[in-house]
């Protein structure tokens, strides 16, 4: 295993940070809205979901499931949480481009 296993793309980093901000409420739609609000640009479901799958695979995120509600036509929700050990490691290793600039999320945590 090389560095590739730990590397994060810009978008992945943004997703990771947003999951951190939302804390207990980080599921697909909520993450999307939060990001759109902070970035003031659209976020595609496809891009977001791919990033979430990758982050979980790399160990940055953990997930837990919750039963569906009426507004989701009975489909379950998957909540994401930061895997703190891994995330902290990354923070020290590689501060992102958006750090402290357009995307004020670190202060949000």
């Amino acid at each position: 295993m090389g560095m590739k296993e730990f590397q994060l793309g810009e978008f992945e980093e943004l997703v990771l940070l947003t999951v951190g901000i939302l804390y207990q409420e980080a599921y697909g739609v909520a993450i999307k809205k939060e990001m759109e609000q902070r970035l003031t640009r659209g976020v595609r479901v496809g891009a977001l979901q791919t990033a979430l799958q990758r982050l979980e695979k790399k160990g940055y995120l953990k997930s837990s499931d919750e039963a569906g509600t009426q507004e989701r036509a009975g489909r379950p929700k998957r909540f994401y949480h930061l895997n703190m050990a891994r995330a902290r490691w990354n923070m020290h290793a590689k501060p992102g481009k958006y750090f402290g600039r357009q995307y004020r999320t670190w202060s949000g945590i």
């Binding site: 599921y27 697909g28 479901v45 496809g46 979901q49 799958q53």
Partner: protein, 894 residues
């Protein structure tokens, strides 16, 4: 799960469920549904649906798509790469066979692709209406009808609007056909009277004007951009008055039918402009006028009053917009209810078993009804074409199957090795299918080139001037083409794949001939024979229909049609025009009539001899002047022509010989002077003379000539028939035109030669000949390709045998015969089976065909001969080559 209104569209959702990794599917789907709901609230359902589909498409990416195969830790890509590699190598190695397969499949696929394009072309119609899923057209039907009517009773729209399931209705009455004038400029227009709801149902947008009020006031008119530019130029047409002169030009399917004398309908105010050219719709029009205009026109006796007429369902079109959430069943119930409620008003002879059915707007394009608004191909024509395409496609697939099985030996070793190294039967099936799909995809590229050549000739068919097939390439078509290729590849390859993968590895490796030989010889022969039987059937049918076409062209109509020019009066006074045209040199005689005989239009009346108790009998009616019989060379056999006295001539008739026979009179002379009463008129008609029988109905519609009468009725005249004696026809016609222009500068001079007009009625048959001829060509070509493949293969396999035989002293001829014998047998069997089959099937439909051509053994013999010659040429091209080869070369070959 119930389909509730705020759930996302089903198709993209199903697509998503199909491709998504099941482990994350439900969570993402939940997100999508949640988002979709919010979007419906913020941007509306239509846009939300669009965004949903877009999201689903963008989710189609690695990481989301479900992993392929059963176990995700095995890497199959090397295996598939190997399949492709071997597939390509096989295609390149056996070039002759690959060519035969690819070219055959390409020919067959191009026809199917053309049909896909036709369907796609029709489906682009009426896609622009925002509420298209809720718009329905009401069809009428009566007991024993062959097809529905697109029209419905005029009061229906108002009655239907009262039902709760219906949001809005509009009737379209196609009574506008005449000249619109403004400031000395005149244009012929056609259009509908319609209700203000028209614009809330359909999504035609106005370039200028207010759609909400454009059709509410009487004498309001919405005009097309084209009419606006022609009449108003750069002026703003809104609020200007157009003077309209009605000439009863038939609309919407006007064609060249003649017009009636002009009636002034007064001024219409322009309230809107539509750019009709922007829309592909089954509704086409130059103008729309407000239906509130009707009462005043009816009061002035300029239009017939059908406002409360429930029996007359042949004129007006009714469209309904349903409430959201209502289905066609609700509309059907409402229509049934109306039929029940209005039973007494509807009751009449032609409305027994009358009922009305809803037709969804999306079904209009492929559901042609009687009295429809434009020319389209009826559904059975598509079935017919698709049937032909399928036969051809099956034939090409058979070639592939046949050749693959025949050449099984070339693959036996490979199969053995693969099995020994652990390939399952399943894997081998996939491998062979990969190969066949690869072949089909290669064919697709050639098929596309063929298609490009096919499109112009299809568009050039005579019938397309009415059907207006445009055949544009739209993106989804290419998806259809690729799907077609894949399906064709699988169908062509499935049998060889199952057959080849079933080899026992030990046999396949040990001895080639033990592995099942070249396999299933009998089956291959049966397949080959069936291809040739089908080909023979097509060839015979094409020749037969061509003969029928020639038969019609050379038919004796009983009147002379050469050098006669028919000029539509277009509302002009006959005597005035006649006086003018008579002065042209080169004109010999001039006559007038209301319809051109034998070109498809007929009028009828019902007669009986005065005082007889028998039933009224139907007779054809042609309104003519005194010169007509002489002009067309129709001979009088008894009595005299119409009297020179206008008043007595008006009650006189000339009848044909069939009428004399039908009424049972001993001779034509006996009928002269007989008085007839008519069913609908009160005047009595006296027979002045009897003429020889001549054709006045279409040959295709009537086998024997039926009784008819000729009446002297100048008010009905629509055409002038000018016989030209001068040898320079075109010069005389240009002179006629200049004389026409002096009398009528507005309407363009139109003319048609009688013989050409009659010929044109059979152009449709020639289209069928062209299509069937082309299909026969494909069928025989593909069958011969298959034969070529088989003979090539056999010849190759027997090269050594040929060498030894030659060495021992056999001559070329006997060797050619030896190699060809089996295939020649096949051809002969095909003819023995195919010839009687073609004969009987063709006789069956021909029997019901009026004025049919004689269908003798000659036609079948000609077809068989063509088949035998082409087949023999194909066979000998290979066998002669091998038998002529040098002995040394053949023996050296391995």
């Amino acid at each position: 799960m119930k389909d509730t209104p705020d759930l996302p569209p089903r198709l993209p959702l199903r697509f998503f469920r199909a491709f998504c990794d099941p482990q994350i599917r439900d969570f993402i789907e939940g997100d999508l549904i949640e988002l979709h709901r919010e979007r419906i609230a913020s941007i509306g359902k239509r846009k939300a649906n669009l965004r949903f589909s877009k999201d689903v498409l963008l989710l189609f990416r690695p990481g989301i798509i479900r992993p392929l195969g059963f176990s995700s830790n095995l890497n199959h890509s090397a295996m598939y790469r190997n399949y492709f590699k071997i597939g390509f190598r096989n295609i390149l190695k056996y070039k002759t066979f690959s060519f035969i397969n690819i070219f055959g499949l390409a020919l067959a696929m191009s026809v199917s692709m053309l049909i896909l394009m036709m369907l796609a072309d029709q489906n682009r119609y009426d896609q622009f209406h925002e509420k298209k899923d809720r718009i329905y057209r009401v069809l009428s039907d009566y007991e024993g009808s062959k097809n529905h009517y697109a029209t419905s009773p005029q009061p229906l729209a108002a009655a239907l609007a009262e039902y709760p399931a219906v949001e809005a209705t509009a009737k379209l009455i196609p009574s506008i056909g005449g000249d619109a004038s403004y400031d000395e400029k005149t244009k012929q227009i056609g259009g509908y009277f319609t209700d203000p709801e028209f614009f809330s149902i359909f999504s035609f947008e106005l370039e200028s004007g207010n759609p909400a009020s454009a059709l509410s006031q009487p004498y309001s008119m919405v005009i097309s951009q084209e009419v606006a530019e022609l009449l108003f130029g750069n002026e703003d047409p809104i609020g200007k008055a157009i003077q309209f002169t009605d000439r009863k030009v038939p609309f919407p399917l006007g064609g060249d039918a003649p017009a009636a004398p002009a009636t002034d309908w007064g001024n219409f105010t322009v309230t809107g402009v539509i750019d009709v050219s922007k829309y592909d719709s089954h509704l086409t029009f130059d103008v729309l006028a407000s239906s509130s205009t009707l009462p005043s026109l009816i009061t002035a006796a300029k239009l017939e009053d059908r406002r409360e007429d429930w029996q007359f369902y042949f004129q007006s079109y009714t469209y309904a917009l349903l409430q959201e959430g209502k289905s066609s069943d609700d509309l059907a119930n409402a229509l049934n209810d109306i039929v029940k409620r209005k039973e007494t008003e509807m009751k009449s002879e032609h409305t027994s078993g009358f009922k009305m059915d809803p037709q969804a707007l999306s079904d209009v394009a492929l559901g042609l009804a009687n009295n429809d608004t434009n020319f389209r191909l009826p559904m059975f024509a598509y079935y017919f074409l698709a049937g032909l395409a399928l036969v051809i496609l099956a034939s090409a697939c058979l070639n592939y199957t046949n050749l693959s099985i025949a050449r099984a030996l070339t693959r036996a070793k490979e199969i053995g090795i693969r099995k020994v190294t652990g390939a399952l039967r399943k894997n081998l099936v996939v491998q062979f299918l990969t190969e066949s799909v690869l072949t089909a995809l290669l064919s697709l590229t050639i098929a596309f080139v063929l298609l490009l050549a096919l499109i112009p000739s299809f568009k050039g068919l005579w019938v397309n001037q009415y059907l207006n097939f445009d055949l544009p390439f739209i993106p989804s078509l290419f998806l259809g083409f690729i799907l077609l290729a894949i399906v064709v590849g699988i169908i062509a390859g499935i049998y060889p794949a199952l057959f080849l993968s079933g080899y026992q590895p030990i046999k396949a490796l040990k001895s080639l001939s033990d592995a099942g030989g070249s396999g299933k010889l009998r089956l291959r022969k049966v397949l080959g024979v069936s291809q040739f039987v089908v080909s023979l059937f097509f060839i015979t049918t094409s020749i037969l229909i061509y003969n029928q076409f020639k038969h019609y062209m050379a038919f004796d109509y009983g009147f002379q049609s050469e050098n006669i020019v028919n000029i539509p009066l277009q509302g002009m006074d006959y005597q005035k025009l006649r006086g003018e045209l008579e002065r042209v040199s080169g004109v010999s005689t001039i006559s007038a009539c209301d319809i051109i005989p034998a070109t498809g239009t007929n009028n009828n009346n019902e007669l009986k001899v005065l005082g007889e108790t028998s039933e009224f009998a139907a007779v054809g009616v042609l309104n003519i002047d005194r010169n007509f019989p002489e002009n067309l060379g129709i001979e009088l056999v008894a009595g005299e022509n119409f009297s020179a006295n206008e008043q007595s001539a008006a009650t006189q008739i000339l009848v044909n010989e069939t009428m004399v026979k039908d009424l049972g009179y001993p001779s034509a002379d006996a009928l002269v002077g007989t008085q007839f009463e008519t069913k609908w008129g009160d005047e009595l008609l006296v027979v002045a003379g009897v003429v020889k029988d001549f054709r006045y109905k279409l040959l295709m519609n009537e086998d024997a000539i039926s009784p008819m009468m000729l009446r002297y009725n100048p008010t009905q005249f629509q055409y002038v028939n000018v016989k030209i004696a001068s040898p320079d026809l075109m010069k005389t016609i240009s002179e006629l035109e200049s004389h026409w222009k002096e009398l009528d500068p507005v309407h363009p001079f139109r003319y048609e030669f009688l013989d050409q007009e009659i010929e044109a009625t059979h152009k449709g048959i020639f289209d069928v000949v062209s299509i069937l001829g082309f299909i026969s060509f494909l069928a025989i070509f593909i069958a011969c390709l298959g034969l070529l493949g088989m003979t090539t293969y056999t010849a190759e396999r027997k090269t050594k045998e040929v060498g030894i035989r030659k060495f021992l002293g056999a001559d070329n001829f006997s060797i050619t015969l030896l190699l060809s014998k089996g295939f020649l047998q096949m051809l002969v069997i095909s003819v023995i089976l195919g010839a009687p089959l073609s004969y009987f099937v063709n006789t069956m439909w021909l029997e019901n065909f009026p004025n049919r051509v004689g269908f003798g053994i000659g036609t079948v013999a000609l077809g068989s001969l063509v088949l035998l010659i082409l087949g023999a040429l194909t066979i000998s091209s290979q066998t002669i080559r091998v038998s002529k080869a040098k002995v040394v070369d053949t023996l050296k070959m391995d």
